[in-house]
């Protein structure tokens, strides 16, 4: 800010930098605006004042409500003037002030007069202003004029009306939709831009009607479209139609492909590019279809215009991700772009080359990149680093030169994000390429010797602790780690202590030396560092005896921590100090999610105590609280899982009921959340009659009715069942709501004395396999998978039959199993033919389960799946397979 002020002073000194708005001040200009009220208007003067006001607004000045109102009223006086220049400024001013609804009325009649003026410029501008400030009721009044304007012979007027229509469609769709005939006529207009605007509006009016859009595209692709912009629009609509019609790919003839291809020969570059881009983005595009598009993009690469080169290289870069071979033809042109003046273009060219390059060209490319890295911005460097990472995964044999490159750039100057990208890449290489491990770890060690980012240091130390002990000579890392204890801040020191301890726990030969080092840390100035050192010394047996650290201690110190911290926090808060120690196993492991139930919950106003069960309680501990308040459920033990609410009634019925399934080890409790939506009724003695004839392993043990259910105040009914212990028993239940109805006088709120017995059929309810699995995420699936070991692994293959898409098949299996997808693997990239999905969770009986699903497309639509399950108990692994086999 200070700098800015200084600069302003400079301007003032510098006579050449004279501005007509120098020293302009809001108050003074508002004073000047009084000339708008003069009986004899000076149009030129008024224009100047409006310009000044607009200048102030444009510089970010704001008017208070009163100031804006005053200006607005003053400006409306100017409609008296016949000066056209002034009128244009008045229009601008009204749009900038955007008057409130009650003020709009003042100008409406003036603007409507202008809308019907003989002067085209007035008509066009008045339409745009009026539509900008109008509301629904006013719109109905001017609708007639707007319809006329759409087919006006003056293109500016027609465009103004059409563009306003596009904006109004957002707020008043029902009115704009009535203009369809006029808009259709305008599509045939001879004026280029009118056609563009009409096409845009017509498509938006019809966008929900696939057939109509398809017809529109069919007729226009055969007809004449005049402006390049309209042609671009038509290309977009065409690709939308292709996308939605889908699935004709195997026949080889894609509808409308010929049209797109013909657009590649259009005279306007804008259209050529739009068509080429559309072709590259087609779903499941074949290389034959790609070829003509790639050819025109290749021509653009050597254009003199940076915009064209950028557009082309950016599109080719995207294509290279899915069809690298199709892009290789452009490699020569691409290589000349590495030295492009425009750094965005150069970066895109490099990363494209990295994607399309083959193993032999890697070394040459790396050399070129090294020269180029020093003079690009950090954000581009990150793009390059990411490209190199994927290159390394593609050509593992080349890891040496790529690792060298990464370690070199790691030593150079750079910001946090850049360094983090490099470190992440090295970590990935170490994980994926065993040969690269030792050199990679040493590079990281060197880096933390001189690293200014605490976050990166601690991350690397943590990683060293995991990977270091597994190397051939773990002792060589100790020096680097212990140096941290001397030289760094407390956070890094604490991290280093933990890493040392990990080495000590894993490598017995190192134990004595580690203990010596840890003991030195006991005198650290920071308490966290001291605490950690003490903890490790005591648990690892630092009293001198060199014993093998037992597994329980290792698990405790370094095992995965799979309890969500939020849950741990609430559990600790609820824990009251007593004889009984805090039991970490009692902490619920389910990740709290703001489920749909909350949004859908019946009864929007919470009414006292009755409300919480149907409102916020999507969280496990809220359920736990309700259930523990009912004595009959006290001996059921720990709640394993509560399902999301399942609606048992259609929306908008007399009584809204949904059910939550609470699963215990030996019991199942149904919690029916009921809402009475009829103001004239009071329900009493409400019970749910559950017929479990299709669930023969379940036996009803208890039912808790609801005494009364007044209008709009939700209540709960509980029904409990016994089931075989720990078993994933399945079943189907039919439900009937039974109650006594008493009529209520809505005016007095009093209920009649005598009620009538009645019942209400609810939908059926099922206990499915997914009810017995908990979604529990693991932070590092690979580690968890490896530490679980293949002892209880079960593998099998399944044919899933024809499916709509790979993504649909993946989702179905995830929902069936009710496990947590890890590392974003639930998302299937478009066009992929195979996909691997990782799931984790806990099965009833607190057994951890990890699942690896490999999907593949077999034929055009048939999906095949390989299911690998690991858990601590082979019966559980089998049970998971059974879920899939029976689902």
């Amino acid at each position: 800010m200070a700098q800015q002020l200084v600069k302003k002073d400079d301007d003032r000194d510098d006579e050449a930098e004279y501005s007509p708005f120098m020293g302009i001040e809001k108050g003074a200009v508002l004073q000047e605006a009084r000339v708008f009220n003069d009986p004899q208007l000076d149009a030129r003067r008024c224009s100047q004042v409006i310009t000044k006001l607009l200048y102030l607004l444009n510089q970010g000045e704001t008017f208070t409500k009163t100031e804006a109102t005053e200006v607005f009223f003053a400006v409306t006086k100017l409609f008296q003037s016949r000066d056209m220049g002034l009128r244009r400024m008045v229009y601008l001013m009204i749009k900038e002030i955007s008057p409130s609804a009650d003020e709009v009325i003042i100008v409406t009649s003036s603007l409507m007069k202008d809308m019907n003026s003989k002067i085209d410029m007035y008509r066009a501008n008045a339409i745009r202003v009026l539509c900008r400030i109008t509301d629904g009721t006013l719109l109905a009044q001017i609708e007639r004029y707007l319809k006329q304007a759409i087919v006006d012979k003056n293109p500016v007027v027609a465009s103004a009306a059409l563009v306003s229509g596009i904006h109004l469609l957002q707020t008043n769709p029902e009115i704009v939709k009535r203009w369809s005939n006029e808009v259709q006529e305008a599509v045939q207009s001879r004026a280029a831009l009118v056609q563009f605007h009409a096409l845009g509006l017509l498509h938006q009016i019809r966008q929900n009607d696939r057939l109509a859009v398809s017809k529109l595209v069919t007729s226009l692709t055969k007809g004449t479209v005049r402006s390049p912009l309209a042609q671009c629009l038509l290309i977009r609509y065409t690709s939308q139609v292709i996308r939605e019609s889908g699935n004709n790919t195997q026949s080889g003839d894609r509808p409308f492909y010929d049209y797109l291809e013909s657009c590649l020969r259009h005279k306007s570059e804008m259209v050529i590019f739009e068509a080429a881009r559309a072709i590259t983005e087609l779903n499941g595009v074949t290389s034959r279809e790609l070829t003509p598009a790639i050819t025109v993009l290749q021509l653009f690469l050597s254009s003199s215009k940076p915009v064209l080169r950028f557009a082309a290289v950016r599109t080719l870069n995207k294509v290279a991700m899915t069809h690298p071979t199709s892009v290789t033809n452009c490699n020569i042109d691409m290589e000349s772009l590495i030295s492009d003046q425009n750094r965005s273009i150069a970066t895109l060219a490099i990363t494209t080359l990295l994607k399309t390059g083959n193993e032999s060209s890697v070394d040459r490319l790396m050399k070129q990149i090294t020269n180029f890295m020093s003079d690009i911005a950090d954000e581009f460097k990150i793009v390059v680093v990411e490209a190199i990472r994927s290159l390394c995964q593609k050509f593992p044999l080349k890891y040496r030169s790529l690792m060298n490159f990464l370690s070199n750039i790691l030593r150079e100057e750079g910001g946090f994000e850049y360094k983090k990208a490099i470190v992440d890449s090295i970590v990935i290489l170490i994980r994926e390429i065993p040969d690269a491990k030792e050199t990679g770890l040493l590079h990281l060690c060197e880096f933390i010797e001189d690293c200014e980012f605490t976050y990166l240091s601690t991350q690397i130390l943590h990683f060293l602790g995991i990977e270091g002990p597994k190397t051939s000579d773990p002792s060589r890392y100790i020096r680097f780690i212990y140096n941290r204890v001397h030289l760094e801040n407390a956070t890094v020191r604490a991290g280093a202590v933990s890493t040392l301890a990990k080495f000590g726990a894993a490598v017995d030969e190192l134990k004595p030396r580690i203990f010596v080092l840890l003991r030195r840390c006991l005198f650290d100035s920071d308490d966290e560092v001291r605490d950690r050192a003490t903890l490790y010394l005591n648990t690892l047996g630092g009293d001198g005896s060199v014993v093998e650290t037992d597994k329980a201690v290792k698990d405790f110190l370094f095992g995965p921590f799979d309890i969500p911290l939020v849950n741990l926090e609430t559990s600790l808060k609820n824990y009251e100090p007593s004889e009984e120690a805090f039991d970490i196993d009692s902490v619920p492991k389910e990740v709290k999610s703001q489920s749909l139930a909350e949004k859908k919950a019946p009864g929007k106003k919470p009414t006292g105590l009755g409300a919480p069960p149907s409102g916020p309680p999507s969280t496990a501990d809220a359920y736990q609280k309700i259930l523990s308040s009912i004595p009959e459920f006290a001996n059921f033990g720990n709640l394993f899982k509560s399902s999301a609410p399942v609606e048992l009634t259609e929306a908008e019925t007399e009584y809204a009921v949904n059910v939550v399934k609470h699963i215990f080890d030996r019991h199942v409790v149904f919690q029916y959340n009921c809402t009475n939506t009829i103001p004239e009724q009071l329900l009493e003695n409400v019970i749910v009659i559950v017929d479990s004839s299709e669930a023969d392993e379940f036996a009803e043990v208890f039912s808790k009715p609801l005494k009364s259910l007044p209008y709009d105040s939700p209540g709960q009914i509980f029904v409990a069942f016994e089931k075989p212990e720990g078993a994933p028993t399945l079943g189907k239940f039919s439900n009937v709501l039974k109650f006594i109805v008493r009529e209520v006088d809505p005016t007095t709120g009093e209920a009649e004395d005598d009620g009538v017995e009645d019942e209400y059929q609810l939908e059926d309810l099922e206990i499915v396999s997914a009810d017995y699995t908990l979604k529990v995420a693991v932070s590092n699936f690979r580690n968890a998978w490896e530490s679980m070991g293949p002892d209880c692994e079960r593998v099998d293959e399944y044919g899933l039959g024809p499916r709509e898409s790979l993504a649909e098949a993946v989702n179905t299996v995830i929902n069936l199993l009710g496990l947590q997808p890890c590392e974003g693997t639930e998302v299937v990239p478009p066009n992929s033919r195979s996909h691997t999905c990782l799931l984790s969770g806990v099965y009833i009986g607190n057994v951890k389960v990890l699942v690896r699903l490999s999907f593949g497309l077999d034929g055009p639509k048939d999906v095949a799946m390989k299911l690998t399950v690991r858990s601590d108990d082979e019966t559980v692994s089998d049970a998971i397979h059974e879920i899939v086999a029976s689902g």
Partner: protein
């Protein structure tokens, strides 16, 4: 204007001076809700582009998921911003239209002081190019004609305008001598 469907849409048009300060700007999207976020965006864009040479051909870059095409003349920097899935050439045509129109309106004297002297024309010009994010016109001469058409209807458009200019300059010089 978030939901213009598949219609090409413009997020903003900026005209900045050689220090990155506003001459005239117009925003059509809600991506920058406050004035300070707008100013921050302008500063950012300016600093990222100022060292490039965009004087002969329009240049282009991708910043924070926005495509920005730009062109510099004298001490004026022209920018047009669109989303990252927008057709770059459409944005470039808007930039060219704006640039051509301003060149015509300022009678080839395209610099900051001339632009500020004729700020009314620049603002009208912005108003005629894009309406609420939707492209109205990209042909420079047509845009310029629309901006000046009120003078076209008058008797002597060109001389009239020069007279206005002359008068304004005279007045400004006068006030300036008074102030100093």
């Amino acid at each position: 204007m978030a939901s213009n469907g598949l219609c090409p849409s413009i997020k903003n048009i900026l005209l900045l001076d050689s220090e990155g300060k506003r001459v005239a700007v117009k925003y059509y999207s809600d991506d920058w809700p406050t004035n300070s976020s707008k100013v921050a965006f302008e500063k950012f864009v300016f600093s990222k582009t100022v060292k490039t040479n965009a004087r002969t051909e329009a240049e282009i870059t991708l910043l924070e998921n926005n495509i920005i095409v730009y062109k510099f003349v004298q001490d004026l920097h022209f920018f047009v911003t669109g989303g990252d899935d927008e057709n770059e050439l459409i944005l470039a045509s808007v930039l060219q239209g704006f640039f051509d129109a301003v060149t015509l309106l300022l009678r080839n004297n395209v610099d900051k002081s001339e632009a500020l002297e004729n700020l009314d024309l620049i603002l009208l010009c912005l108003d005629e190019i894009v309406d609420g994010g939707i492209i109205l016109e990209t042909n420079g001469p047509l845009i310029a004609e629309k901006v000046t058409s009120h003078n076209m209807d008058a008797d002597a458009p060109l001389s009239e305008q020069t007279l206005t200019q002359a008068w304004a300059t005279a007045r400004d010089t006068f006030t300036r001598t008074l102030l100093t």
